[in-house]
């Protein structure tokens, strides 16, 4: 894809290493989004536990980020087919998109629980956000009943959208 796959140490990782149009570098009519593209490197600094076991979380490319990528690539494809665009017209770098995630931790509308978290951007950008690489106000987490309600609501919304029911276009990724 349109990423920088140059092998480099953690201190040289940059937000710009990540792909933004997801177009294949070899075949212009092929795109790969979500887990279909190879990440240039990890997101977090690789670490190891006291026993030497490597702890290297793989970059998350499912859920909300993959939905956003797919939508933007679809728009690019539309422009390339119907308007004759020679290159992708939309972008969705993980260094310029945020993500929301909810991890359920108990059912029932009155006694359930979940952890809701948002992160912006998904891939840290130390140029725009010196220090942590992420926006403080947009990167947070909260555990409680409200997050369970949100998860419950999303279940219905996403199935409704998947079935293309009336107004599905207004349900965001």
């Amino acid at each position: 894809m349109d990423a920088d796959y140059t092998q480099k140490p953690f201190d040289e990782w940059r937000a710009a290493d990540w792909p933004s149009t997801y177009q294949s570098a070899r075949y212009a009519n092929v795109s790969g989004v979500g887990i279909a593209f190879a990440p240039p490197h990890a997101i977090s600094r690789p670490r190891s536990n006291p026993r030497g076991t490597v702890i290297a979380p793989a970059p998350p490319r499912t859920g909300m980020p993959s939905g956003v990528m797919a939508r933007e690539v679809a728009f690019s494809i539309v422009d390339m087919i119907s308007r004759g665009a020679s290159a992708p017209t939309h972008s969705a770098s993980m260094a310029s998109m945020g993500a929301a995630c909810i991890a359920s931790a108990g059912a029932r509308l009155r006694t359930g629980s979940a952890a809701a978290m948002t992160m912006y951007p998904v891939v840290p950008d130390l140029v725009r956000f010196p220090g942590s690489g992420r926006s403080g106000p947009d990167t947070y987490g909260e555990i409680g009943l409200a997050a369970h309600w949100v998860k419950h609501l999303l279940h219905y919304l996403f199935i409704y959208k998947a079935k293309a029911r009336l107004g599905w276009q207004f349900i965001p990724e």
């Binding site: 956003v68 933007e72 939309h90 972008s91 969705a92 310029s96 998109m97 945020g98 993500a99 929301a100 006694t111 629980s113 809701a116 948002t118 912006y120 947009d138 947070y140 909260e142 555990i143 409680g144 009943l145 409200a146 997050a147 309600w149 949100v150 965001p172 990724e173």
Partner: protein
């Protein structure tokens, strides 16, 4: 080496006040609105 059960038993737990806050209807209704507002802000930032 400490056993898994021992490590779980010594893990930090939320205080009773924290648990009450996480289950309080007025507090969680407010958080529900806030979580949705923040998520929508995230969605708008992702539009290119």
């Amino acid at each position: 080496m400490e056993s898994v059960d021992a490590r779980i038993a010594s893990a930090p737990l939320p205080t009773p006040a924290t648990v009450r806050r996480r289950r309080s209807l007025p507090v969680q209704v407010w958080w529900f609105a806030l979580i949705n507002a923040r998520t929508m802000r995230m969605v708008r930032k992702g539009h290119h």
